[in-house]
Point group: C2
Chain length 217, copies 2
Amino acid sequence: MSKYIEPTDRTKLRRIPKRGSFERETVYEILDEGFVCHVGFVANGQPFVIPTAYGRAGDTLYIHGSAASRMMRELSRGVDVCVTVTLVDGLVLARSAFHHSINYRSVVVFGRAEIVAGEAEKNEALRVFTEHLIPHRWAEIREPDSKELKATTVLKLKIDEASAKIRTGNPVDDEDDYARDVWAGVLPLALVPAAPVADDRLPENVAVPSYLLNYER
Amino acid sequence: MSKYIEPTDRTKLRRIPKRGSFERETVYEILDEGFVCHVGFVANGQPFVIPTAYGRAGDTLYIHGSAASRMMRELSRGVDVCVTVTLVDGLVLARSAFHHSINYRSVVVFGRAEIVAGEAEKNEALRVFTEHLIPHRWAEIREPDSKELKATTVLKLKIDEASAKIRTGNPVDDEDDYARDVWAGVLPLALVPAAPVADDRLPENVAVPSYLLNYER
């Protein structure tokens, strides 16, 4: 597979192209750190943007949902989809209002989703999905049964039309503004776990697994 | 203004309606905790989903961008837009793969954006926007000049077709699965600030402002 994803009219950056990347590794790194995407699709001519979790294996993104959900029904029909993943890294405080910004990494994937059919393939996609969210989890839990698999629609989307966009580092102020007596720099932000909270019905002798104590994206 | 937002075909929840809310206060609380939205629109029949920062004042959302950006040009034409804000609160670990979930709060707003015209109104919208991201910041920074205002497109979107969706609390497992010997509960997640990082060119005598040291969403 090529190291770079071919730019298209939908993915190429028109402004500030230095913030863009078509490198497959960069796109994958962002997708692997995130786990919630925003899925855009058109239904009855109207745009919808729905947040949902995802998993990645190779050049494929997996999402899933109830077979009864509007989004899954629409996407199952093979309509155009735009899937966006955004990681917020910090607030960029400049000396002028105009140059305030946000440090972020985002990926946009365009394409058409396909249904993952067949129990074995579906189960494997759900394993990928679950391990993407919580590595080491799958081995410990009850796998889906036939009824659960039937109630779940799993979709896959090839990552072959995609790009990343990244803003990083300090504010870039107008030269005249650097002399101003105001704090400037970056306030880093990250999605951070707190201590796991046990379910009310969990027996006391079940310890918190190490993959949760050391959880990080 | 009514305490509740009128449901429409686009905003009503078809499944699990108990997770939905049309209460204005709930919608506003989520919008005020967040600051990055995902904007969905249709261009040439294709869906686009673009992350961008926003601010809120009363029943109005403000976004802004370069007058040259594709998104701002498309939205300025008054096309239908779907703006989604998602806050991730935690991973929900159940005994079965099927009942794994995510605790989140999200808001979806539908409508058509309007251009904020006029220097004074534009400046005020940018103040609201900046204060939404970083309260107390506006008073300390250089406000936009005429040239900067001209280079910036500011759009407003009325929050009059919107709904919130919330999942909270413990996993809900099948009764048979509660006896399983696997940890279950919630791993809380939150967007947390780290220590502010001063710009390379900041004079040493400029202290970090208290609104950054105490920053929280």
